[in-house]
Structures are given as C-alpha cells and as structure tokens.
Symmetry: C2
Subunit: 504 residues, 2 copies
C-alpha cells in the first residue's frame, strides 16, 4: 500500500517540478527571446505557473501523501532516490506551509514594486526614494522569520532559503577568517599594483571571432548541441528546461573579453544541472543542491580552470590567431598575469578573484545588522561607504556605485550574497581534493583535456542533485565543513607568484 | 452580486487562457529553439499545462460561476466583452464536458502514437503500416461524435472543432460550386501551360539577401521588433504569447524564394492576433475566431497582396538589387506571370493558388466517406489516386506522394482540411468589400503602402477576436454567408489575363 502511495506522491512531486521548470522556460524566454511587448502576458504566465507549483507543494493532498509514505520512507536507504525525494519534499512542504498565503503574496508583491523603484533610484543616485521599499522588504523578512520556530539566529532562516541547513554562525566564522587573510594580502598587492599590466585586454575584439574562441572552449569542456544552447542576453545567466536541455547565456562586448570568462562561469552552472543523476530527471531532486555549491562549480570553471596558466597554454595560440593585432606581441606569461590582475573596484560584478569577496563580506555583515535592527536603514549609505574604505581602501563617490549597485535587496533576496563567496571557498576545498586524486589534471588542461575534471565532478558532486543537503555533501566528499584555508592558500600562492610577494 | 461573480468568472477564464498560452510558448520553443534532448521534459510540460487548462475549463467551479453570471449575461449587450466572454466559455465548457476524460485522453494518446508511425510509413511508402492507426483515429472520432446530441451530419461535429458553427452542408455546397468552376479553368490553363515561364525562380539566392528583402517587406507591412519576432524553423507557422508578442517562423532555401511568400502568409496570421481588441488581451477571446477566417487573412497577404502586380511594382526593384544575376534580365511582367504560374502538383503544400483547392476538396470528400463508413479504409490509396487523376489530371506514383503526404489524419485532425479553402474563398469575399471601400488600395501597394488594408482588417475583422463566431462575423461584414463566386471570378480574371484565356 505504501508503495502505491509512493507512486501518487511521486506523480505530484513531478507535477510540482514540471510547473517549476515551466516557470524557468518562461523566464528564459523573457530574458533572451521575448519582444518587449510580451511583458504583461508573461507576468500572468509566470505568476500562474509559480502559484500552481506552490499550491501543489503545500496542498492538503501532498500533506496526506507525505503521511502515507512515512512507513515506506523509513524502510528505505537514506541515499535512495525515493527516500531522498520524500525527505526533500517533506522539508519544503512543511517549511512553505508555515508561511501564510497572504504573507507569501505580499513578499512577492513588495519585491516587484521595489524593483523598478530601485532601478530608477540607481539611475538618479537617489537612495532616499528607495529607502521606504528597503524598509518594507526588511519588515516583511522579519514577519517571515516570525512564522517559524525560533532559530539560533533570525538570519539563519533567511540563509536557509539559499543555502539549506547552513548556519549563520558557521558562515560568519568562515568569512571572518577569510577577511583576516584577504585584507592584508590585498594591501600587499596594492603596493605593487604596477607589477601587472592588463592594458592589452582592452581594444577591438570583433564579436564573431570571440564566438569562435568561445565555441572552441565550450566544445573542449563538453558542450554539445543536442543538450545545450548558448544565446545572447543583457545579464548572463544559466538555466535549463531539463538535465538534457541546458541553456547558457552570454553578453559579448567588442571592447574586451570578459564574456569568455563569464561563459566559462555559466558553463560551470550548466554542467552541474547537466550531470544530475538521470534517475532524478523529472523530480525536484534534479537540481544543484544550493547556491553556494552551484557557485563553487561556476567559479571553478571560470577561475581555477579558465584563469589557470595551463588552460591558456592550450588556448592562447587560438586566441592569438583570432586577434593577432591585440596579442601577437603579448607573450603567454604576460597574458596570464593580465587576466589575474587584482584591482579594487567599486562594483562587485566587475571585481577580480580576490577583492570580490570583500564586497560579499560587507554585504553579509550589513544584512545581519539591517535584520537585527542595529542599523537605522537611513544610515545604510554611510555604513556602506565606511566598510568599502576599510576593506578595499577606496572612496565611494555616489550611492549609485555604492549601496544601490545590486538588485538583490530590492528583489527581496536578503541572505543570498554570502553564497557567492561560499562558492569560492568551497571550490578550493574541492580543488585540493581533485588535484590530489587527479595528479595530472593541469597537464591535461595544457592539452585541452577537461574530461577527467568533468567526470570527477559528475561522480562526486553533480549526480547527487538535491539528494544531499550542502553540508551533507561536503561531509561526504571532504569529510568536513566550510574552511577558508584552501582558498586563502590558493590566492596567496597564485597572486604571490604573480606579484612577487615575499611572505606566505 | 452577479457582477462580483463575473470578476471570479473572469479570473478563471484568464487562468484558462494563460495556461493555454503557456502551452503555445512551450510548443513554439520546442519547434524553434529547443535542443533535441529537451523532448521528454517538454512532453511533460506541455501535457501538464494542457491538462490544467482543460481541467480549469470543465471544472465544477466554472460550471457554478457560469450559472451565477447567467443573469448578468442577459443584462448585457450581445457584443459586449463580458457577454461575449461568458458565451464563448459557456459553449466550450459545455462542449468539453460532454467528452469523458478517458476518451479525451485516448484521443490524444492515439494521435501521438500514430504520428511517428505515419512519419516512418511515409518514408517507407508503406500505407499498410499506417492503416491500423488511421482506423483507430477514425473509430475514436466516431466515439467522440457519439458523445453529443445528434447533429444534421456526424461530420458537423468534427468541423465544429476548427470552424465553430459551420455546417457540413454549407461547406459541401460551396466547395462543389468551386470545383465546378475550377476543374474546367485548370483544364484550359493546362492546354496553355507553356504560356508562363518560371524557370528564373530556381537558382542561387543567398539567404542573407533573402532576409534583407523579407525584412523590408515585413517592415512595410507593419512588423516591429517591440511586438513581433521572426525565426527560422523546419515547418513554418505563426504563434503568439500575447497580442503584443507575435512570433512568425520561416524556412529559407538557397535555391528558391518560396519563403518570401510563406513569410507573408504567416504575417497574415500574425496580424490577426496582433490586432485583436486590446480589451480582450488576457482572455480566450484574444484569438482569431476560426481556422477558416484565420486562413483568409494569411492567404490575403500571401496571394492577394504578395502575388499582385502592384506589390511587385514597389518591391521588384529591391529584389533585382538583391539578386541581380537572377533578375536583371527578367522584366517585371515576366516575373509577375512566373510567380502566378499554375501547374498541377502531387503535393498540396507545393501547389499554386488555383490547383491547391482541388487538393483540399478531395480530402474533404474522403474524410466524410471515411467517417461515414462508406469507404473501406484499406481502399484509401486507390480512392485518393482516382480523385487526383480526375481533378488534377495527374497520376500518383506512390502513396508517399499521395495519401500519406499530410500529417493531419495521423495527428487526429479530421475535419481540418476544408478550412484552408474556406480561407481562400472568404479572402476574396472580403477583398471585394475592401477594394470597394478603398478604391486606391492597389495604387497604395505600388507605393509600398499597406496601412489602409491593415487598418481595414483591424476595424472590420481582427478587433472582434472570438466575440463573434465565423458565420456571425461574415454576416456582419458581408451581409451573407460563404460564397465561392468572388474567388472564382478573381481566379478567372487574373489567370485568364496571364494565360490569355478567352471565355469568362
């Protein structure tokens, strides 16, 4: 009886996931394909499909089915597809049932009201006009937090949305260690900022030729046209309709080559979804387990692969052939140093591999203060600017390039930022393991071979999908939790060599 | 009270239509964008969204709301948005409630089983392998018919799916008159088949230049990038996500220019959806009222505009500039005659403006015989071939180029074909009215001006959406019903001039 209840339960879980994937396809279309005139109808379509997905998840029918499969679940291995699906759906079902429908809809409404206001406020450099919406979003998050049993810290409940099961205290501790290592490192580099030249990365790079190099890289990485696409968009992202329909996006600029790295980044996200276990394909387990683990994959392909010397041993001759005027007189070593230049920047998304994390840390700290009420929201610009000066050593000339630069808080995504740096940290924890298990990994890159890395990730990380939560996954693969040590060691070694630093 | 019930009813009708449009977007993506690997997940997505749309339409809640708004409906003008929406939904609700869920699902299942079998049978020229599936589809249509109160003819209930409210007897009568006029006309032309040369339409036409001419035509027609797209696909079609998000597709071939005409055809479909009344936008009334009326629009832009002399007075210089080698030595008049050449062809979709209709008429006749049981389905190839010989004067060398050429019967679309020729007939009924009301219409074409036609269609046909059924619409605009007279007069005049025929 319990097994037949499982079939019913599975069918409803598939419906839930199918509706969610419909939303993904509609949003992909909106950002990549849709004529501007399609916006209003698309809001109807996305809103309805998302509502039906949510209703399916929290329905009384789902509650009943979850009860009926309880005995079956107990009889199964923890790691089995079936037990994992029940466990995941039960957790999401219970969590989402805690939030009253009115609050859930007000959370969405407030965010979609705030977004255009934020957009205009950023253009006008006018924090005051955005302030009431920021207040409202924070207030609503406090209400959201109050729907749940008391956690160790209120912020835990926000973080859980993006990094399920991760605790604020662990993240705080990890980021604190990172900051203590990063600030002096970046200070040392700042004193030698002339040591690296990247002027040759700005020039004239015809987009058709960029696309040829990009296609070559993707093909070596494992992209194929039967199961992947890549399209142009304004703000690049990765999405998917299923594990065999992966959609990357990119944005080419004729004056620089950022999109090469951004495409490798999105490939890392896409590969995670592509290599989820085939048996999970129609269920909500067919997804990366958290934003942090996801980001560890994208950062790995962008930075640990795409900014490595060996990667460019293979690809630099192709790049030189595509852009002879720019690169014929730039030797590989100079190019390698140029793409790894460290340069504090006001804008998070334009930042290098090292300083990027300080942008995240200050946001993570400010979010907790905003939520806790220790900081009057009217004082946010000042708090922001002070931290940027402290951590990055630069002055913020305007709120548009400061506290207003990111859309996350306007969109209600409070608790999200730290996952970017968790991704960096985790990517290096994994990398130490990977390079130990595949000693000739880098030699392979120099021959254009990425199969061993791809397979290792598939077998150790990707195939799990959401069967394991992030901490469980790290425990299995690494035998431990978050540790910023490997990332700090990596940055100090790589940047120390490039900048000729002495300490270690 | 009745008005607040209307708000609830309206919301459910919007949900129904939003789900339907989600299906359209998913199918557009499948045919235009999707990597092959996305097929299985897409079947889940389309299946679920279509099921939810259907459940919304036939739900007990909808039944209750339709009862509650009955008084309100009676208090409204027949043409009002509100009364029209209630009327349309009531009709579809009642009709769809007549069909048991099991039969509805078996109709879909049998069609999706038959389609790949048909595809292979066509490749193998093997009618016998398709026969059991054709039998099953016909059987299921008989079951479908038996769900409803007895109509004048069983076929009425199939036709109603595509041309709501139209009766078989009217269509039969109209097509009979058309056939009686067409067969001798085509016979006369056949005797003078050498009078028109179209050899210059086959050659080397680089696709990028075709696209430039196509873009110019579309721009003059009224296409803009804020509310339209055009993309490449295998079998061109028009779709939309909303009246302000219209999606045309086309298929270019380097060896000929068919896609120019096919794109004008799809533009006609797109324009109908584009110009539906803005107040209908979120509801199921925001659509062309029937396939026949829809086809009257596509055929009008393809043939009455796109194959007119005046159209090419404006565009032929552009075409010559795009393809000087092909057209520099071909004068406009010779080009005009070439694109209007009549040449009986085995294949419906490759046929000219005149003989095309005989392909339709024979299918319409055979469908009724199949449904009525007067024809053993095993004898279909013979029945087909005999009619092709009778009507078009040509021998059918293989079933692949005969009875197996179209996907409609495999896909369960029995009753569909006649709407293509109804479109031709109606396009000329409208055209006589349009040219009477806009005397300098053709002079405008010669100056590249299509605004007056577009506006006339918007005001007289398009804005109604599905508020009026096809017969009501024709009654309003023309003061009468179907009449093949205008179409026959048009063909005889145009082709008589081109071929130098004497009679009239």
């Amino acid at each position: 009886m319990s097994e037949s209840a499982y079939a019913d339960f599975h069918a409803r879980a598939v419906d839930y996931w199918t509706l969610t994937k419909i939303v993904w396809v509609l949003l992909w279309d909106e950002r990549v394909i849709m004529p501007r005139g399609g916006g209003e109808a698309r809001a109807d379509q996305v809103g309805l499909a998302a509502r039906l997905a949510h209703e399916t998840l929290i329905s009384d029918e789902m509650a009943r089915l979850l009860e009926e499969v309880r005995g079956y679940e107990a009889s199964l291995e923890y790691d089995s597809d079936e037990a994992s699906l029940i466990r995941w759906v039960r957790h999401e079902h219970e969590k989402n049932r805690c939030v009253p429908a009115d609050l859930a809809s007000e959370l969405r409404r407030a965010a979609s009201t705030a977004l255009p206001v934020w957009q205009q406020a950023r253009i006008d450099n006018d924090f005051a006009s955005f302030l009431p919406h920021l207040r409202r979003n924070i207030e609503l998050r406090r209400e959201y937090v109050s729907c749940f049993p008391k956690a160790d810290e209120d912020y835990d409940l926000l973080l859980d949305e993006y990094e399920p099961g991760m605790l604020t205290a662990e993240v705080r501790q990890t980021l604190q260690t990172l900051k203590e290592g990063l600030v002096p490192l970046i200070g040392e580099i700042a004193e030698r900022s002339d040591a690296v030249d990247d002027s040759f990365l700005h020039g004239d790079f015809p987009i058709e030729r960029q696309k040829e190099v990009e296609a070559l890289i993707l093909e070596r990485f494992g992209f194929d046209h039967d199961t992947w696409r890549i399209d142009e968009t304004v703000h690049p992202f990765a999405s998917s309709s299923s594990p065999t329909d992966i959609r990357l996006t990119t944005k080419h600029h004729q004056t620089h080559l950022h999109s090469l790295f951004s495409t490798m980044h999105e490939f890392g996200h896409g590969l995670y979804e592509r290599q989820v276990g085939a048996s999970l394909a129609r269920t909500p387990l067919a997804r990366g387990t958290s934003l942090g683990i996801h980001e560890s994959q994208s950062r790995m392909w962008e930075n640990l692969v795409g900014r490595s010397r060996e990667f460019w041993i293979y690809f630099y001759p192709h790049l030189q052939k595509a852009f002879p005027a720019a690169f014929d007189s730039v030797e590989l070593e100079r190019f390698y140093r140029g793409i790894n230049k460290v340069q504090p920047n006001l804008i998070r998304i334009d930042s290098d591999e090292a300083t990027y994390n300080l942008h995240i840390i200050l946001r993570f700290e400010l979010e907790q203060e905003m939520l806790g009420g220790g900081l009057d929201l009217a004082d946010m610009p000042e708090a922001w600017n002070t931290r940027v000066k402290d951590y990055l050593g630069i002055d913020v000339p305007s709120d548009a390039d400061g506290v207003l630069q990111d859309m996350h808080w306007a969109g209600g995504n409070i608790g999200y930022f730290s996952t970017y740096t968790l991704g960096n940290i985790i990517s290096l924890q994994l990398w130490e393991r990977i390079t130990a298990e595949i000693p000739d990994l880098h030699e392979g890159f120099a021959r254009g071979e990425f199969g061993p890395l791809r397979e290792w990730l598939g077998e150790n990380i990707h195939h799990w999908g959401r069967k394991l939560r992030p901490k469980e996954l790290l425990e299995r693969v690494l035998g431990g939790g978050l540790d910023s040590g490997p990332y700090l060691r990596y940055l100090r070694a790589k940047l120390g060599e490039i900048y000729g630093l002495t300490g270690g």
